[in-house]
Subunit: 330 residues, 2 copies
């Protein structure tokens, strides 16, 4: 059992990302995983849930609500959880689709009267735009909401913000990611989100695909998804942080759905002009052995901890992964 | 002339770094360089000083105090400046030697009743330790002091803090820098600081070297300084930020005092263990075309801007470049 002074963390969503988040929290001294909700239920234990038991309940019986004795089945699992249980901050490990989903969940938090820190790892620019529309409501509700705090956007956006400091003007921010996963079915929602970026697909068509249809599609591409000029919120986050216009930010990558080895090293390249007129490029490259889960959940909890410090000081509202950095001076 | 809403910035010290800082500020819309002090005088102009004119006065007559009509000669230039002139924040582009110098200057600020933001780009662990001793006084005085906000510590420490997010445990942070400068005499203080890190030298002996002695020493090394296991404040900053114990942080590099081309690409490597037990390394590499001045002053002003936001919210005290980041969760 952890000390009472730890941050009580909830995880909303219990797919691949939510489960990895639970495992990451398990050994932490400063945070305790106390709550999770999925579509059919929720579980809560003030002194900490057990990842093995919770994951077993989810796979064996279809919901974390079956996790004895801490689970409860509910058709309003998020609502029930946040109205009755003490949680300091939530990691929203929810599907990004539909695009309005994260903002709709945020509205549920606002409506419930809950106060605390929310962190998401969303990807789409348009999803951040949905959140921007409710930023005043978040501030008034006493919620400190940190958006885009996964790997990209998140870790790489933060690195780009740091890198930008050397330059008087930023010419381009180029993010290229490689993801390798052994089995796409562990990341059903994420893979559909990736497919939605491909020519001929959109968010709705990708979301509507059955598992068999996804499988058939991946057979045709040999399990590889090559993504270019993706709609990725790194662009709006860097624009909001004053680094550069969003059209100077590009995101692309290669996802191998049949091999845990990354097809290329994930990196961000920040090119700019120094005050002396030199053009140069800083590069931040992730180690190939780090998984998507490590690169998403680690930053998410880092931001959650930083968000707790803001919340304690009465600083509420909407912030991005890039806002929490030294500022770019124009 | 810039708008009155810009941040009024002072630069203390007008050697190579202070002069570069003035040039970097000149095109900025959000900041105005209004004040500088050197050993013999100071200059102040509320609507902005002219870098060309100030640098000419410094070189032609030996002090910025000769910069007509804004200059004044003084044996207490810092004191006179900060007691009489309106400045929102200062970049302390002062020599790091002696080690107590930055803390002594901070005490002058505290004693004067001035309130605002201070940013330094100091290098030594022991210099940060001096500042830690007066952190309560800084907070009580209404000063937001950001230390270690140059290139290393600073830019690279911040990148290491970001990189650490992917890992459950950090095994090592290894900073390796390359610096190339055409002419060591433009960075007299910095080069003496570097020499002080070499075997057989210390802070006092290096500081006591005449220009001719430095010149003679550099002749023996063909202008190259190779530095290993340097006492660098990245270690204490990463320890204070909870990333890892200071003995896991190493800093070294190569300085070529006779060639503006960098002898190697400056980089930081962060090695750790992920929650799945994988060992991996993230790498952040600076573009070779970026100068030391760009990599020091850019971050310093980025932190100064961030510090202004803290100060406006009433957040005072001592912070490091690593504190301003998403937090590492233990």
């Amino acid at each position: 059992m952890k000390m009472n002074s730890t941050i009580k963390v909830g995880i909303l969503g219990f797919g691949g990302l939510g489960q990895a988040a639970a495992r990451i929290l398990n050994p932490k001294q400063e945070m305790t995983w106390v709550a999770t909700a999925d579509l059919k239920g929720y579980a809560y234990c003030e002194t900490g849930l057990d990842p093995d038991q919770a994951i077993a309940a989810y796979y064996d019986q279809g919901s974390i609500g079956y996790c004895d004795p801490y689970g409860a089945l509910s058709n309003n699992s998020i609502q029930d959880l946040l109205e009755t249980k003490a949680v300091d901050g939530y990691f929203l490990a929810l599907p990004n689709l539909p695009n309005t989903f994260m903002a709709d969940v945020a509205k549920q938090f606002i409506g419930s009267g809950w106060r605390g820190v929310l962190v998401d790892a969303l990807k789409r620019t348009s999803a951040v735009e949905q959140l921007l529309q409710i930023k005043d409501e978040l501030a008034q509700a006493g919620i400190t909401y940190l958006t885009g705090c996964g790997a990209t956007p998140g870790l790489l956006t933060a690195a780009a913000t740091i890198a930008a400091q050397s330059y008087a003007e930023i010419h381009s921010v180029k993010i290229t990611f490689g993801v390798g996963i052994a089995n796409w079915e562990a990341y059903r929602a994420t893979i559909r989100e990736d497919i939605a970026h491909l020519p001929g697909f959109d968010v709705e068509t990708a979301r509507g695909m059955s598992d068999a249809e996804v499988e058939a599609f991946l057979d045709k591409t040999n399990g590889i998804l090559t993504l270019e000029n993706m709609e990725h919120a790194d662009d709006i986050m860097l624009e909001l942080a004053g680094i550069c216009d969003r059209d100077r930010v590009t995101v692309g990558g290669v996802v191998d759905t049949r091999n845990p080895k990354k097809p290329l090293s994930t990196n961000v390249k920040v090119t700019g002009r120094t005050f002396e007129g030199k053009i140069s490029t800083h590069t931040f490259t992730l180690g190939d052995e780090t998984s998507m889960a490590a690169n998403v959940c680690g930053p998410a909890f880092g931001y959650l901890k930083a968000g707790m410090a803001l919340h304690r000081r009465g600083i509420y509202g909407l912030f991005t992964a890039a806002d929490m950095m030294p500022k770019f001076v124009k």
